[in-house]
């Protein structure tokens, strides 16, 4: 694989990890006054998929959205400021962690309603088709989202109209604290695509190279006009559903299970892979890490220093 691509993937992944580590570090200070759904543990998916996207390609996401935005290139200063409820935030302090936007990256907002972004992404793809444009649309969703009717309705519509969509289901086996077993009659989410005769893949969501390669195949097909494709990428979130803690101390998930998955950490795994296969040198990796550290630090300082909204801002942006 091209060295440039490896560097790019590593940079995106490290940046997501460091951004969220910074949240974990400062969240207990109670200045970020909004719920945060951390993406730590799942970084390989956003990284692998977004590496194929152009700025003009649309991306739709859900409550666990930080990784998707960062991987697509969103401004992390504005993202951090949004977490702090500042006027300089990407949503002017009105959205918070679950409602992030990045117009330059064709991310036109994210929904906190489970599956809410799926039909919206489908509509963006319809607009692309109607305007005879060339962008594609990526819709990220959690495993919980497939329990909603709008998921099936959108799959049907997308296939019916041959829309340029890559659906990426990030199966981390939990929806809040409920395991997939108690929620879903069939654990093989990817097989749903068969009903709609949609090309599909089941991926190891902790293997960034695998995600990169397969999503690249699908995205190339979609760009050529194949219609929608579906990916289920299995992964695991390291932190609790919402907030910076882990689930072990809270008793929501078994220690053994969490620890088993921590060993499959997508970041460490990629790091090991790079060194073992001599894809990059150690100092090259360090350079990337430093760069990400700097950017995250800068973003955090920007957020902390930024002004809060004015009282009058409460009533703006309605119409």
């Amino acid at each position: 694989m091209d060295k440039r691509i490896i560097k790019d993937l590593y940079y995106r992944m490290v940046k997501i990890r460091k951004f969220e580590d910074k949240i974990i570090q400062h969240y207990p200070e109670q200045q970020m006054r909004c719920p945060v759904h951390l993406y730590i543990g799942q970084e390989a998916i956003a990284t692998g998929v977004c590496a194929h996207l152009k700025k003009s390609d649309y991306l739709f996401s859900y409550h666990r959205n930080h990784g998707h935005l960062i991987a697509k290139g969103a401004d992390i200063k504005e993202m951090f400021a949004e977490l702090y409820g500042k006027k300089t935030g990407c949503s002017s302090g009105k959205g918070g962690s679950t409602h992030m936007v990045s117009l330059e990256n064709s991310i036109f907002g994210t929904s906190a309603i489970v599956a809410g972004g799926i039909p919206i992404g489908t509509g963006a793809a319809l607009a692309v088709r109607l305007q005879r444009q060339r962008q594609i649309v990526v819709i990220f969703l959690g495993d919980g989202a497939i329990e909603q009717g709008t998921f099936f309705e959108s799959m049907n519509f997308a296939k019916l109209k041959k829309l340029p969509i890559l659906f990426v289901c990030e199966n981390n086996f939990y929806a809040t604290n409920s395991s997939q077993k108690v929620r879903q009659a069939n654990p093989d989410i990817y097989k749903i695509a068969d009903f709609f005769s949609m090309p599909k893949a089941l991926l190891d969501g902790n293997d960034v190279i695998q995600v990169y390669k397969k999503s690249g195949d699908f995205i190339a097909r979609i760009r050529k006009g194949s219609g929608p494709c579906f990916i289920e990428a299995r992964t695991y979130r390291f932190r609790t559903h919402v907030g910076p803690e882990t689930d072990i101390e809270k008793g929501f998930r078994a220690r053994e299970e969490v620890e088993k998955w921590m060993k499959k950490c997508p970041y460490k795994r990629f790091h090991r892979q790079i060194l073992a296969n001599k894809l990059l040198k150690e100092n090259e990796l360090l350079d990337i890490e430093h760069r990400a550290d700097e950017e995250v630090k800068e973003a955090w300082e920007f957020a902390v220093k930024s002004p809060y909204p004015e009282k009058e801002d409460l009533r703006t942006d309605i119409y």
Binding site: V101, S111, I118, P119, G123, L130, Q131, T150, S154
Partner: protein, 350 residues
């Protein structure tokens, strides 16, 4: 009687537009006016498209979308699967990506299936992202029952949408307004709930042939009078005008304010009228409890209390689901006789 005929015969009613000197004025129906507005919007702006269940069938949504797919291609006027919530999300997404979608439902009842996308998404999107994104979408649905449409096919639920910040709710009462308000709704950068009324479809009015806009949020005076202010909208405007004619013979002169848009409301016209007549009644084709009539009544009380000679009255639909039997249905909807009686009582100070 067929599905879409007006159950109350008021076909001789002629509501004059404010400016009937405009070139090309013709007497056309409310249904034709809506059809015409769609055709103009599709012609003027390639970003406009219409979609909804059965909109390209031979009935064409009571004639309001008839044959538009033939005129403007199946890409721009198309039939859909039966998935209202998802269709609403699709409208939102399409508008984010540069289009101006109009989503059409035969009945407002089906909007209840799409509440998540309307209320959680469309209404909030601009605010949630600090004003960075606009959603120029129109969701059009039709109220008005009759012919035993019953509880799930003739619900007057417009107040639910008026309650939600971020939505505009338009309810035209004349053909002139239907065309001008629909064109304004399609031109509006925000989500608009456009709610038209089946019983008005055959009403005729003078309507200019060309495109024109009726501003959103501005009520209009339909009739001048000195005795009682009647605040109304949609089909109830037609009833109010009829009541106005009958009461005039008795020497009672009512003033009629047609809201045109039930959210937002520029209430100045209401206040100035109430300050003049000192008496007000709100006629609403919806439920009274937490409804539009409650809101108007409260606005008047808060702003014109010292001018009022008596409490604001309201007439609305019975607080029950819509019944099927025509005997019960007749009881469910406000009727001209009751309205006249009540206004007469108010005017005479009883």
């Amino acid at each position: 009687m067929s599905w879409d005929k007006v159950p109350v015969d008021l076909s001789d009613l002629r509501v004059l537009p404010e400016d009937n000197t405009l070139a090309g004025n013709r007497l056309i129906t409310y249904r034709q006016a809506i059809h015409e507005a769609f055709a103009i919007a599709l012609k003027q702006d390639p970003k406009v498209f219409l979609f909804g269940e059965g909109i390209d069938d031979p009935a064409g949504v009571f004639g309001t979308t008839l044959n538009l797919h033939k005129q403007f291609s199946k890409d721009r006027v198309f039939d859909t699967p039966i998935c209202e919530n998802t269709l609403t999300g699709i409208a939102i997404g399409a508008s984010l990506a540069g289009m101006r979608p109009v989503l059409i439902h035969m009945r407002t009842d089906f909007l209840l299936v799409s509440m998540d996308q309307i209320i959680n998404h469309a209404a909030k999107w601009k605010y949630m992202f600090g004003g960075k994104v606009n959603l120029p979408i129109v969701i059009r649905a039709i109220i008005g029952g009759g012919w035993g449409s019953a509880a799930q096919h003739s619900q007057p639920i417009q107040a639910i949408f008026a309650h939600i910040p971020g939505l505009r709710v338009v309810m035209p009462s004349t053909a002139y307004d239907a065309k001008g308000l629909l064109l304004s709704s399609i031109a509006c950068p925000d989500p608009v709930m456009f709610i038209d009324h089946r019983w008005l479809f055959d009403y005729k009015d003078y309507v200019p042939e060309e495109a024109y806009l009726v501003p959103l949020g501005k009520p209009v005076l339909r009739r001048q009078g000195k005795d009682v202010t009647v605040i109304t909208s949609s089909f109830m405007t037609a009833i109010a005008l009829e009541a106005g004619k009958k009461l005039q013979d008795e020497g009672i002169d009512i003033e009629i304010v047609d809201l045109r848009t039930v959210k937002p409301i520029d209430a100045e016209l209401i206040f100035s009228s109430v300050k003049k007549t000192k008496k007000a009644i709100v006629l609403d084709f919806g439920y009274a409890f937490c409804g539009i009539s409650a809101e108007i009544s409260s606005m008047i009380t808060e702003n014109c209390f010292s001018f009022l000679a008596r409490p604001v009255e309201r007439i609305a639909l019975a607080d029950v689901p819509t019944p099927a039997s025509h005997v019960l249905e007749k009881e469910f909807y406000p009727n001209l006789e009751n309205i006249i009686c009540k206004i007469r009582k108010i005017a005479k100070g009883g």
